[in-house]
């Protein structure tokens, strides 16, 4: 495993993310609103929801998980190691709260469903979001875009802008996840599991077949699909796998690894 000491998010961020961020930065009122909601959201999550309903898992409770998160932080050159709070839910997403003592809210589902290397990819994504300082905005994009979308005109436009940026930021996180696990097959397995494929079917043949099917389906774009994508905060799962696959084979991934080797 190559330790990427000195790694900057700008080295691997998706080029479309920067463009989307520039568009978002033009709407000052939206940034102010997001900051205000973000502040209250942080109080709610850190002081009420997480403390009241989740359980902090310390290093002595689960040394394997802690050593994994520490390794991911070291690989991506991020400090401090976040605190981990667990809860029961059948989702794959880790919620991330930045700050002096960053917090990861981890569903028990991924701990049960992912093997150690897949978890490395998933925690890599979370640490990458912490490193890029985009987690609060991403979480808000998920929670308030629907409300904003109900306000015709300005509200809808802002919701679309926010969702667009969030999708691109998600692609950057996937790249961070790949840099953390440093194995494309692992990243593909994790993304395929998130797409619904049971763990026992995730062998090499099936993954290759799946990617081929993704490539075929990607060539057909429709107006309906574009319209459906507009307010989504995540890129469609198949497109995520393809984007990561393309980035890996573009040589940019190898360049980063070789630079730090």
């Amino acid at each position: 495993m190559v330790t990427l000491t000195g790694l900057q998010v700008s080295e691997y961020s998706h080029p479309d993310e920067n463009k989307a961020m520039q568009a978002l930065n033009k709407t000052k009122w939206l940034k102010d609103l997001l900051n205000w909601v973000s502040d209250k959201n942080n109080i709610y999550n850190l002081k009420v929801s997480i403390l009241g309903s989740c359980i902090e898992v310390t290093e002595s409770d689960m040394p394997e998980l802690y050593s994994l998160v520490s390794e991911v932080c070291r690989t991506l050159d991020y400090a401090p190691v976040p605190r981990i709070y667990m809860y029961h839910d059948s989702v794959f997403d880790i919620d991330i709260f930045p700050g002096v003592k960053p917090v990861l809210k981890v569903p028990d589902f991924i701990v049960n469903e992912f093997d150690r290397e897949m978890l490395r990819f998933q925690f890599g994504k979370a640490v990458s979001a912490l490193k890029a300082d985009t987690c609060q905005m991403r979480m808000l994009a998920k929670s308030i875009r629907l409300t904003m979308g109900l306000i015709p005109g300005l509200g809808t436009a802002a919701a679309v802008l926010l969702a667009d940026w969030s999708r691109k930021a998600g692609l950057t996180e996937d790249r961070g996840g790949l840099l953390a696990c440093q194995d494309l097959r692992t990243a593909e397995r994790a993304l395929m599991r998130m797409a619904g494929m049971p763990l026992r079917y995730l062998d090499s043949d099936r993954i290759s077949e799946y990617i081929k099917a993704c490539q075929d389906s990607n060539q057909v774009s429709s107006l309906v699909q574009s319209a459906m994508t507009l307010q989504r905060t995540e890129v469609w799962n198949n497109d995520r796998i393809l984007e990561l696959y393309k980035w890996h084979y573009s040589g940019q991934y190898d360049d980063i690894i070789e630079e730090y080797e």
Binding site: K40, I43, Y44, K47, V48, S49, L51, G52, S53, I55, E56, V57, T58, S60, D61, M62, M86, Y87, H88, S90, D108, V111, N112
Partner: protein, 274 residues
């Protein structure tokens, strides 16, 4: 199964029922809407219909298919003085829960997710806790609530005023259940593992020591309860209002205080009888 060997001794669950739960239960039972709801249930034979639905759609656990679990239910009935042993059903769900409801013939629903890796004595505690609610009238309240939630069965004029009372009751019901589980299991740490079973993986729970007042979860729970600040309190109230149950942190501190202050007085009586 129980370290104090208090089987065959009848304990009245009202003796350790949480006072807030007691008040909320009384409030529901004395309301005109609830009485009307019960009349409606009996007139329409709704309990029999509910049993038919569960028998035809869920897997029933019998002494042949699950002798251990059925024995737990029988022993819990003896312990908490419930006359009828509830029928047990398996419910496929990712929610980890044991739920008892019914009036004349209560039934218990066990979620498949909970049974995945829970230890036997923890399951015993959770089943016993549900059965302890039979004598306190929880079965009929739960049944009425279930019917009120099923759109259109109970007329709105009855179900609407009841729904707020049910919500309030849910906030305190868990405190009494946790106490019953502690009395049945007889070990604080294992009881907390049972309460949190399903919430986080069992292998992590087994490494924790909840009976240690300096454990990380006690610090977290105290921090949660003592957090002040205008926004924190407002947001906590909003969350508490919208919550179905009660915060785990509050349940933990409440049970710990019960163990320290009241548990030994209650269990001492059993020991003397033995």
């Amino acid at each position: 199964m129980n370290q104090y060997n208090i089987h065959n001794i009848k304990i009245n669950p009202a003796d350790f029922q949480h006072p807030m739960d007691k008040n909320a239960t009384r409030l529901i039972q004395s309301s005109a809407a609830f009485r009307k709801c019960l009349e409606f249930i009996s007139k329409q034979s709704l309990e029999k219909q509910m049993q038919c639905i569960y028998r035809s759609s869920l897997a029933q656990l019998t002494p042949k298919t699950a002798p251990g679990i059925c024995r737990m239910a029988e022993e819990a009935c003896e312990m908490f003085g419930a006359e009828t042993v509830p029928e047990l059903f398996l419910q496929r769900s990712y929610t980890t829960a044991v739920t008892m409801m019914g009036i004349e013939k209560p039934l218990i629903l066990l979620s498949t997710e909970l049974l995945k890796d829970i230890k036997e004595e923890m399951l015993w505690g959770l089943i016993a806790a549900e059965i302890s609610g039979i004598r306190n009238g929880f079965g009929e309240i739960r049944f009425a609530e279930w019917l009120c939630d099923s759109a259109g069965i109970i007329p709105a004029v009855i179900s609407r005023p009841l729904s707020k009372l049910f919500k309030e009751w849910h906030k305190y019901l868990q405190f009494s259940h946790d106490r019953a589980a502690l009395i049945a299991i007889g070990d604080f740490n294992k009881t907390m593992c049972a309460v949190l079973a399903g919430e986080i993986p069992m292998e992590i729970l087994m490494r924790m020591d909840f009976s240690d007042p300096n454990c990380s979860y006690m610090k977290q729970s105290r921090e949660f309860l003592e957090n002040k600040g205008h926004w924190t309190e407002t947001l906590r109230d909003i969350k508490a209002f919208s919550n179905e149950g009660v915060f785990y942190a509050a349940r933990y501190v409440n049970l710990y205080q019960f163990m320290k202050n009241e548990y030994w007085d209650i269990t001492e009586d059993f020991m003397e009888e033995i």
